[in-house]
């Protein structure tokens, strides 16, 4: 029934799309970095450099070449993993990004897990009990998630749970000053403190995770529950559900086997999108919680006028988005019998 070459063709098609989109991404970031009103060279060499020195640096950076050549150099560099050097720290950007990325992954993953665990059942409940109180409550919770600015809610969380109630620790991945004491192995603070054998700091890390992860989790839950509800409602009005009822199938089996089976595949797309949204939301969340992840790196770079670093971070986030999209595509192909 399954022709391998057809599958392979489909996969190659996906990869092709990915390549094109990646190319587009790099094109866009290249254009953005050339939009700078400021001269990138001056940012590196400072105000007091001599003209010859400035000229030499220009030569080195390839800024005298025609624009297409510049793009080619840029493109090939990025493909090989060279994202340039940070203006602030003179370190390779790719390396710096790899250092901070796990922190963001930690938050986004936890947040999505929370969103899935709570969002899917809530969405199903709201769909099955449409127009009742529980439906309105779930929809309200979702609506709030769409209307509240994430950075403000984070600040409110800190205000209430840290400042006023003292239930949770404050910003940062560990209490102030301790972060530099832990050698990063995986980049995930909880794991690294365990590896270092420091149980106190482990619990500390866990405590610090709660607020930002819950924040992202709430936004994920709002989105996932709303989409689940809508997908469920769409399926429950289908004819095959009537068939199942005619067969005398129990209501719970109708919901969780029949309807859910059809909701699963689009739901995967929803979850992937939610993950992407959380990566985006991390930019603002990490700023609020002083969480040393990709988001904070980007915002610090913006304030530090470090455009290459900003571009590097953008490329990484964009690339992750693209990969997520591709994985969803693949999952669709594998799971939907009609796509085979």
């Amino acid at each position: 029934m399954l022709i391998k070459s057809r599958r392979l063709r489909g996969l190659l098609n996906s990869l092709g799309s990915v390549a094109v989109t990646l190319f587009g991404l790099l094109l866009v970031t290249f254009v953005i970095s050339r939009l700078l009103p400021a001269d990138p060279v001056l940012a590196i060499v400072g105000d007091h450099a001599t003209d010859e020195y400035v000229e030499r640096v220009r030569e080195q950076l390839g800024l005298n070449e025609p624009i297409l050549v510049q793009f080619w150099i840029y493109f090939t560099n990025v493909i090989q993993g060279d994202l340039g050097q940070s203006i602030r720290t003179s370190q390779p950007i790719a390396q710096e990004l790899m250092n901070v990325f796990p922190a963001t992954l930690e938050l986004a993953t936890l947040g999505t897990i929370i969103g899935i665990i709570f969002g899917i059942p809530l969405g199903v409940l709201a769909a099955v009990r449409k127009d009742t109180l529980i439906d309105h409550v779930v929809r309200f919770v979702g609506l709030v998630g769409y209307s509240v600015p994430i950075f403000w809610l984070g600040l409110m969380g800190l205000l209430v749970f840290y400042a006023k109630l003292d239930w949770l620790p404050g910003p940062g991945r560990l209490d102030f000053g301790y972060e530099d004491m832990i050698t990063p192995v995986t980049g995930l603070m909880t794991v690294d403190t365990l590896i270092a054998g420091d149980m106190d700091l482990f619990w500390n890390a866990l405590g610090h995770l709660i607020l930002p992860a819950s924040l992202l989790g709430y936004f994920s839950l709002a989105y996932i529950s709303r989409m689940t509800r809508s997908l469920m409602l769409g399926q429950l009005s289908q004819e095959y559900i009537l068939t199942a009822r005619v067969k005398g199938v129990s209501e719970s089996r109708i919901i969780w086997k029949h309807a859910m089976g059809n909701v699963l595949v689009p739901l995967i797309t929803v979850i992937a999108l939610s993950y992407g949204n959380l990566l985006e939301g991390s930019v603002l969340t990490e700023t609020v919680f002083a969480w040393r992840g990709l988001g904070l790196y980007i915002t610090d770079s913006i304030f530090g006028q470090d455009m290459p670093a900003v571009m590097g971070g953008t490329i990484v986030v964009g690339a992750v988005f693209i990969v997520i999209n591709m994985l969803t595509d693949v999952a669709y192909r594998l799971l939907d019998p009609r796509a085979q």
Binding site: E239, Y240, T243, V246, G248, H258, G261, P337
Partner: protein
């Protein structure tokens, strides 16, 4: 007065008794009365309900199984003497699929796209106690509906089947638990004309050999003329005429006569096809009852 389930072989013992069935919907524009005081009885025979869209024929079929969004009221609606109105979900699970089943119009939509045919059949036969296991029984049913390669169809996904095969699989599925009454809601309307007759023949055969009752809902009077035993004509939610199929040409109600006149006949070509005129008064007139003893 009513026989115990399965004990009677006489085709004129009523298994379904409906008196003044009404189905009403609450819409923003007011109350919509879809089924108005419909009454009929049926035994183990083939009863056709014929009408145009909006005549209430589908809603009548759905109401028998309690599967309509509207409000059902009836003076009496019983199946083998057991009440069919206002049952609890648990009670419905005893009836649906096991004693009364329904085949719907388009297998493209009425089969679950992410479950194999086999799984859907097995699910239908889960609670049926028989000598063979569900899987064996499913394969037997697929053979009974004249599917030539039951193993392949068992493993297939619904989108891989043609319309005719899908509908036959659907029929097989609905017969898994050996119901006594099968409601077929326009089962051939979505099929090609050539396939239609095949499916009809299969239905006919199955209903006869299993001694089942069949309610055949259709908009096509011509189709049911040769197929059904008795015909109910519905218009605007009411039954306007009820008569044996072989007596159709002696129909008295103007709507029935109009329907018959609309169909072109090969051996009696007319210069102009008749146009059906509809009198709104038919929707309000009380049901025309068949005089006692008028049934076959």
């Amino acid at each position: 007065m009513f026989s115990t389930p399965g004990a009677s072989d006489m085709s004129d013992t009523p298994i379904l008794d409906i008196q003044n069935l009404n189905v009403r919907f609450d819409t923003p524009k007011g109350e919509f009365h879809a089924v108005k005081d419909v009454s009929f009885t049926m035994g183990r025979e083939k009863l056709a309900i014929v009408g145009e869209s909006g005549s209430g024929k589908t809603q009548t079929g759905r109401a028998i199984l309690g599967l309509t969004q509207g409000r059902i009221t009836a003076d009496r609606m019983t199946f083998h003497g057991s009440n069919l109105v206002g049952l609890s979900p648990l009670a419905w699970r005893e009836i649906r699929g096991r004693r009364i089943a329904m085949v719907m119009q388009d297998p493209k939509y009425s089969l679950n796209p992410v479950m194999t045919i086999g799984d859907q059949l097995i699910e239908a036969g889960q609670r049926h106690k028989g000598p063979a296991g569900p899987r064996q029984r499913a394969l037997e049913m697929l053979e009974a509906v004249k599917i030539r390669d039951p193993q392949r169809v068992f493993r297939a996904w619904p989108h891989e089947l043609s319309g005719g095969m899908g509908q036959r699989a659907m029929i097989a599925m609905m017969l898994m638990a050996e119901p006594e009454l099968l409601i077929a809601d326009e089962p051939t309307s979505a099929l090609d004309v050539t396939v239609r007759l095949q499916v009809l023949a299969i239905l006919d055969d199955l209903v006869k050999t299993r001694n089942m009752g069949l309610i055949f809902i259709s908009h096509d009077l011509n189709l049911v003329r040769t197929f059904a035993d008795r015909v109910l004509i519905m218009y605007g939610g009411r039954v306007v005429e009820e008569l044996p199929a072989r007596d159709l040409y002696s129909a008295t109600h103007p709507y029935t006569k109009g329907l018959l006149a609309c169909a072109p006949e090969v051996d009696n070509p007319k210069k102009r096809l008749a146009i059906l005129s509809r009198d709104p008064a038919w929707a309000d007139a009380p049901q025309v009852r068949q005089p006692a003893g008028g049934r076959s």
